[in-house]
Symmetry: C2
Subunit: 376 residues, 2 copies
């Protein structure tokens, strides 16, 4: 059991816990920045620590293509390669393959797809995705899943959920029958599918629990549904998932979505929003988002956010970052990424504090009220 | 007098000195990394300090176009804008305009050119280039000069040198008749032109000395001539420039060129090579250059250079940096830039040490013998 419940907020379903891995613990609710090809774009592992990151995510699909399994094994896994010494979670590649659109074929055996990089043909099966994540050496690996966008017809959602479940069984068997390649244990999470349909989600959870995993992810959300639908499906799942395992809502999201899901009892999150939006000049503050490329910031001598403890706000004016973004200096993107990753870690840290003090529901309301208030 | 001679090497013309500016001192021989539009690409001022940089250079032409003088004055100069608290030298824009090729027109008044950025038309005169550098607030400003590529006909080199000299007189007058815009003094260097012709170089130096500047630069080199010709012209100039003023060889260059010029008595250097080449994957080591994009580095677990004290070598393997460069992660470019800037600072630091111990000539020979030796 890798999850230790520490405190249940009395005002809602939010909970504070600790997950233990071979590369150390992380507190939940946790936000995992995305290091697609091993690197959270523009940042070093030292930067991640400075941003208070406790666990990072990386993408199996991308690492499998480049640098490839041979190099990953040669170095002794991703930690040794990229220099991040804390916990790493890897997805299964299911979402990337889903995003490939026309480049894929799904059958009982697995997913055949063409690399977005060089067009070469590849096959992901439930088994070889476990093997790949053995080679990566991630602390937490995800099973191969089959997801469909929202909304999807009941029949399609049903088919995808059942396929995911059959693959989950094969993936768990492969996991249990293969040793780690390096000198530490790894863990494996199952993924709940079933679209927006309660009976499918219920069946998916039941099936996964029967197999038994180290944690459970809610998949198939953040793919087109409204916030209300996402909230409803998330609540349905968290109510049914066991209390002594971590719950991970995949690919979510915006600060408001994360707070919503924390309130419903979700423990783990990942999303490219803070890093990708940062590179585009969009930054998060307690008073909402700012587009730093906007001309109105060119004279601003204050930092992105007054009082913020991130490296960017401690050292640079909004006006200078604006200038850097406008002239395409990479440093500008690095500074916005640093700020956003710091902001997201602050978001979950403050959530954890509020939970421990049984005031998460109030905290969320106050945070959102300020965040969405129009300010001059 | 901003230059204080500290030691003359007894084995050659190399010398160790200290230049004092309002933003602190720097030791010479000094290498100034180039922060084109205010930023040494991918690096923060804190990174520059970690690389032991003592003075940085920025480009008047680029800063004039973006962010523009209004923003520079609004912030109180470049130091306040970019956060670098040490000395800054700015060029005059002459070299950038020279590089524009077809986009310029030169007459007695100055240079008319079209912006490479948006095609808008601008005029640089000896006077307004001083004004611009007042707005930038650089510690050391350069006069507007007129340079021609090498080789150039005697008549063209003569014309350019004479134009440069007439402009130098106007620039000095403007400098002496205008106060700094901020609360610290600035200094101004003249630029020796005259192509590869001794009599023109001699006349240029004589004319500049008659006007009187705070330091003297050797311009019109690193624009097509051979290393031998550059050495000959440099030696001719350093022998004639006064001992109590700093001597700056503009735009040079490769490590071997810098060592050559130090031996001849040059004090200051700037070049985009360490940063630009770094971004292209080319890094400097004591054993020569490496192209990190080359496939042969993909399995390398050692750093770029064993024993190197730079951040990149302390934390990352050559193999991982290779991976990052191959997948176009910006972090890869940042790490190669960090290494190269550190290497260049080490180059001049070791030169200064050798000079103080009267062994620069030997030091140079040993350095180059290892640097150019083929190693497996």
């Amino acid at each position: 059991m890798i999850y230790t419940a520490q405190h249940q907020d009395t005002s809602c379903s939010a909970r504070y816990g600790i997950v233990t891995t071979a590369h150390g613990t992380f507190e939940t609710p946790a936000f995992m920045p995305v290091g697609t090809i091993g690197t959270v774009k523009t940042l070093t592992p030292q930067d991640l620590l400075d941003c208070n990151v406790q666990i990072m995510l990386s993408n199996t699909y991308h690492l499998y293509l480049r640098p490839g399994l041979e190099i990953l094994q040669h170095f002794g896994g991703l930690h040794r390669l990229n220099g991040w010494r804390g916990p790493i979670l890897t997805d299964s590649g299911g979402f990337q393959v889903y995003s490939l659109d026309e480049l894929k074929k799904i059958d009982e055996n697995g997913v055949t797809f063409k690399s977005h990089w060089d067009g070469s043909k590849h096959l992901f099966t439930p088994e070889n995705v476990v093997d790949t994540q053995r080679a990566i050496g991630s602390d937490i690996m995800m099973v191969l899943d089959y997801l469909t966008g929202n909304p999807s017809e009941f029949s399609l959602a049903d088919e995808a959920h059942q396929q995911t479940l059959r693959w989950a069984e094969r993936a768990r068997e492969q996991f249990l029958n293969t040793p780690p390649l390096y000198d530490y244990p790894q863990y494996q999470f199952g993924i709940v599918q079933g679209g927006v349909y309660d009976e499918l989600r219920a069946a998916s959870i039941e099936g996964l629990l029967k197999i038994g995993f180290d944690g459970y992810a809610i998949g198939g959300l953040a793919v087109g549904e409204s916030a209300d639908v996402r909230r409803k499906v998330t609540a349905f799942c968290t109510e049914r998932l066991p209390k002594d395992y971590p719950r991970y809502l995949m690919g979510v999201g915006k600060p408001e979505d994360i707070l919503d899901a924390i309130e419903l009892g979700v423990d783990m999150f990942d999303c490219v929003i803070p890093s990708r939006n940062g590179r585009n000049g969009s930054v998060f503050t307690r008073d909402g988002r700012l587009n730093l490329r906007n001309n109105k910031h060119k004279q601003a001598k204050l930092p992105i956010e007054e009082g913020c403890g991130c490296f960017s706000c401690q050292h640079f004016s909004l006006g200078y970052i604006h200038h850097m973004l406008r002239v395409n200096e990479m440093l500008g993107m690095r500074l916005t990424t640093l700020h956003n990753i710091f902001f997201y870690q602050q978001l979950v840290r403050e959530a954890r504090e509020a939970i421990r003090e049984n005031r998460f529901a109030t905290h969320k309301r106050e945070f959102l009220s300020r965040y969405f208030k129009e300010t001059g």
